[in-house]
């Protein structure tokens, strides 16, 4: 069966501790100097393309899904939005007229408006890093594994395996309340313990 070989960023809210390191790394990656200590003095200040949304017990990292039939690309009247050769949804600021149509149609609310230049900006899957074969800045910064970079096959098979394990544990009665999700610390601890147990095996 032919599958999608285009890697993208997958998010796992259960593992996000809300440290917002990804936001910092993203902003630095999109600065002129690409150095934290200089970036904070730049004008205009660089902005992150990923946002952490606190949702009750979970933190949800939100960034561009780089959709295949991307509604933002389809709706863009000037062709400012396009798919590059890696399949990433990119924007050409010079072509952007700031009509904000992309933001209206994006189901995830990703494209943002940059008031200074009157153009939209969004996650671009770190093109400079892609050239060098590096992970996207946010993924590299995330030390908990809440952000992962890979093809849908890789991610899905991981999820499948993890879920299978969970089912077994649930059956053994060792995995009960882990994902009831109402208590941030409980779910975080459960995840940490699960990972540690997995490692010590």
């Amino acid at each position: 069966m032919p599958t999608d070989s285009k890697p993208t960023i997958f998010i796992n809210p259960a593992k996000c501790i809300g440290c917002r390191q990804c936001e910092i790394a993203c902003a630095v990656e999109h600065s002129q100097s690409k150095d934290l200590f200089s970036a904070i003095f730049e004008d205009p200040l660089p902005l992150p393309r990923i946002h952490i949304l606190p949702m009750g017990a979970y933190n949800v990292p939100m960034n561009c899904r780089h959709c295949d039939g991307a509604p933002c690309v389809e709706v863009c009247p000037t062709g400012a939005l396009y798919h590059d050769e890696d399949g990433a949804v990119m924007i050409t600021p010079e072509k952007c007229i700031g009509c904000k149509m992309c933001a209206i149609v994006c189901p995830f609310g990703i494209p943002e408006f940059e008031a200074l230049n009157g153009v939209m900006f969004k996650c671009d899957l770190c093109p400079d890093r892609r050239v060098e074969g590096k992970l996207p800045a946010c993924v590299e910064a995330c030390k908990t594994g809440a952000l992962q970079f890979g093809t849908i096959d890789e991610i899905v098979s991981n999820v499948r395996k993890e879920t299978a394990e969970r089912i077994i544990r649930l059956k053994e009665g060792t995995y009960e309340e882990e994902y009831n999700g109402w208590d941030l610390f409980r779910s975080m601890y459960a995840e940490i313990i699960r990972i540690n147990e997995g490692e010590s095996k």
Binding site: Q21, I24, L36, I40, L45, P48, E140, A141
Partner: protein
């Protein structure tokens, strides 16, 4: 994984790092890599964990959140974090000083007890008896310190004097009155004293009683924690003023006490030739590395290693003898006083174990990586922790007690010797490189060398043969190629005829590169004026003044020059630098250098950039408040230039 040439310019470190990689041993550089990218909030200092409404962090890119839950902004948070770093650094140095003062008191008390019991010990009055674990080795210095402190010396026995000096020192730690520290008053020149008194007025905060003169060593540290508690002090200026005060309690209190009383107990360093680098480990000997900071223990280890019984045991087990070598500042303490070779600086602690030739690494406090235990697991090496303050999971605990010092030191050495047969000969690889150098330049030794006064040095400065003096200190940091900035800055300054004095891991770096050899003046790295001066006086172009606690020797030297020229320290053509700073102690040292009037360069960006007001105070406003400020510059060439420019500016102001 890093290439071995990227981590260090030291060939022994390069080879041992390569070896660690071959053996699959994780070291500091891999651990640093796994931390990348490091927390941006932490690097900028805009993360606050001081209460449980937090942790809070400020968005460094201008967006929300701009304030912590309590309302603290970036500058408040950065200043509070910096003050806590200063307090921790001052605490580490000062607790070391307290330990030495207590040891002097114990020595005096034991001598008194022995005397009462009528024990037939020789020369008990000057406490040079070998029955006691600790003695006064430098009676002259004891008398000199007592005199400075205003203690009557006539007609008193040595043990009485020792007790009184120890008591004044201990009093300085816990003092509750508003007076400045006794040690500070005894050592600091009046003109600088005046600047300390007036600093708060200049900063627009006259309510600081006694200015930035520290009142009690412990008190200022405790007050730092009080001020930084949620809801207490929020003005970056007053927070930083207290930072100066706390660091001065370290400089002219805790650290100074450590240095001066160590000299009394163990002898004041005199110029002596010794060797440095991993090549000082010996193939057929029992190798013991003493690592950490406190000579109270290592002095005894050095003695115990000469015990005939233990030497015999070593021979019986197939060793040619016992080879004690140093590491970090404990290493510098025994290097300065006994010429015991030093195996390396901070980033070589794991490397020493990787040689496979270390029977025991005996550790006390500060700068010892817990990872040494993990690396040691790959070999037969035993890590022996000795301080009740510092326990390492996986190490052997032989805790130290001054009263039974000899017995415990022998037990430690015995443990090392008995471990010799466990060494696997095929797994030994000791790098050959080592370098000789002259060490032991205490203030007393320098004075002696110049014929009793600093006149020759001062004249050379006034004439312009020497442009000024730079005090280089401290640390390695794996973020910088080991020793690279230490050596580059040193060379760049010496080329410009700046005489170097230095301590800590900088001094070990300099020694490994031959800078402490008089021959070094003939290299292209030394300018003509400095060359001429060094040749005339038979000194190397840079002087090793000891461990990082001994930075106070540099202060005392600066104080003497300031007195001679009748100016405050801040008027002198003197600069400081911590090219590869790493510890909180380095933050305290940097701060007390600046507070004392010595403009200081840092080669690592400290966690303050997130607070623009704080940065401005540290790098600009402090010039108006105390006459010196910080220079932050990671590039060693640019840094040396900036330091030199500062020296030239000071010369101009002095009219020389």
């Amino acid at each position: 994984m890093k290439k071995y040439k990227e981590v260090s310019i030291d060939s022994t470190t390069q080879r041992m790092y390569e070896r660690a990689q071959e053996m699959g041993i994780e070291t500091v550089w891999e651990r640093l890599e796994k931390q990348q990218p490091q927390c941006g909030y932490g690097l900028l200092g805009v993360c606050c964990r001081n209460c449980m409404m937090g942790p809070c962090r400020i968005n460094p890119f201008g967006g929300e959140p701009r304030r912590g839950v309590c309302g603290a902004d970036a500058d408040t948070i950065v200043a509070r974090n910096l003050l806590r770093m200063i307090a921790a650094g001052a605490a580490a140095h000062s607790d070391h000083g307290r330990h030495v003062a207590l040891t002097l008191l114990i020595a005096a008390e034991m001598a008194e007890k022995f005397k009462k019991e009528g024990k037939p010990v020789l020369e008990l009055d000057n406490m040079a008896s070998n029955v006691l674990p600790y003695q006064v080795r430098d009676v002259e210095k004891l008398k000199a310190v007592a005199k400075r402190l205003g203690i009557e010396t006539e007609g008193k026995t040595i043990r009485e004097l020792a007790r009184e000096v120890a008591e004044v020192a201990l009093h300085d730690f816990g003092k509750q009155d508003e007076e400045a520290l006794a040690f500070l008053k005894a050592y600091l020149n009046p003109k600088t004293y005046e600047i300390f008194e007036k600093a708060p007025e200049k900063a627009g905060m006259p309510w600081f009683e006694n200015g930035i003169l520290p009142r009690g060593i412990d008190r200022e540290i405790v007050e730092s924690l009080h001020r930084t508690h949620i809801g207490t002090d929020h003005d970056p200026v007053s927070i930083l003023l207290h930072g100066l005060k706390t660091s001065l309690g370290d400089a002219w209190g805790g650290s100074l006490i450590a240095t001066e009383l160590q000299d009394i107990l163990f002898g004041t360093p005199q110029v002596i030739k010794a060797e440095a680098n991993l090549g000082v480990l010996k193939e057929d000997y029992v190798n013991i590395v003493v690592h950490g900071h406190e000579p109270v223990l290592s002095e005894k280890i050095v003695e115990a290693a000469q015990d005939p019984e233990l030497l015999e045991l070593a021979e019986k087990l197939g060793a040619k003898g016992i080879n004690v070598v140093g590491m970090c500042c404990t290493g510098l303490e025994v290097l300065m006083r006994h010429g015991i070779p030093i195996a390396g600086n901070f980033l070589q602690q794991e490397m020493a174990i990787v040689t496979g030739a270390v029977e025991a690494m005996v550790v006390d406090v500060q700068c010892i990586m817990p990872a040494t235990v993990d690396v040691a697991r790959c070999f037969h090496t035993k890590i022996i922790d000795t301080s009740p303050l510092a326990t390492f999971p996986g190490a052997i605990h032989i805790k130290f007690d001054e009263r039974r010092a000899d017995e415990i030191a022998r037990e430690i050495v015995r443990t090392a010797v008995e471990n010799f047969p466990n060494r696997s000969k095929q797994r030994v690889e000791i790098p050959k490189e080592k370098m000789a150098g002259y060490v032991g330049f205490s203030v007393e030794a320098i004075l002696k060398h110049f014929g009793g006064s600093l006149k020759p040095l001062e004249e050379a400065i006034v004439e312009g043969k020497i442009k000024g003096v730079a005090g280089l200190v401290g640390c390695n940091n794996p973020k910088i190629k080991q020793d690279h900035n230490h050596i580059k800055i040193a060379n760049e300054l010496m080329k410009r005829d700046v005489l170097l004095i230095g301590t800590g891991c900088w001094a070990t770096a300099a020694m490994k590169y031959g800078i402490f050899l008089p021959e070094y003046v003939d290299t292209e790295n030394v300018g003509p004026g400095l060359r001429e001066f060094a040749k005339e006086w038979g000194i190397p172009p840079a002087l090793n003044m000891g461990s990082c606690v001994d930075c106070t020797r540099m202060l005392v030297l600066a104080d003497l020059i300031a007195r001679d020229l009748n100016v405050p320290i801040s008027a002198l053509p003197v600069v400081g630098s911590a090219p590869e700073a790493m510890t909180e102690k380095a933050v305290s040292i940097g701060t007390y250098f600046v507070a004392s009037g010595i403009t200081t360069h840092l080669g690592i960006v400290p966690p303050v950039l997130g607070g623009p007001k704080v940065v401005k105070i540290l790098t600009q406003d402090l010039y108006d408040i105390v006459g010196a400020a910080f220079i932050v510059e990671p590039d060693p060439y640019k840094a040396a230039k900036l330091m030199y420019d500062h020296i030239m500016k000071k010369r101009k102001e002095l009219g020389i």
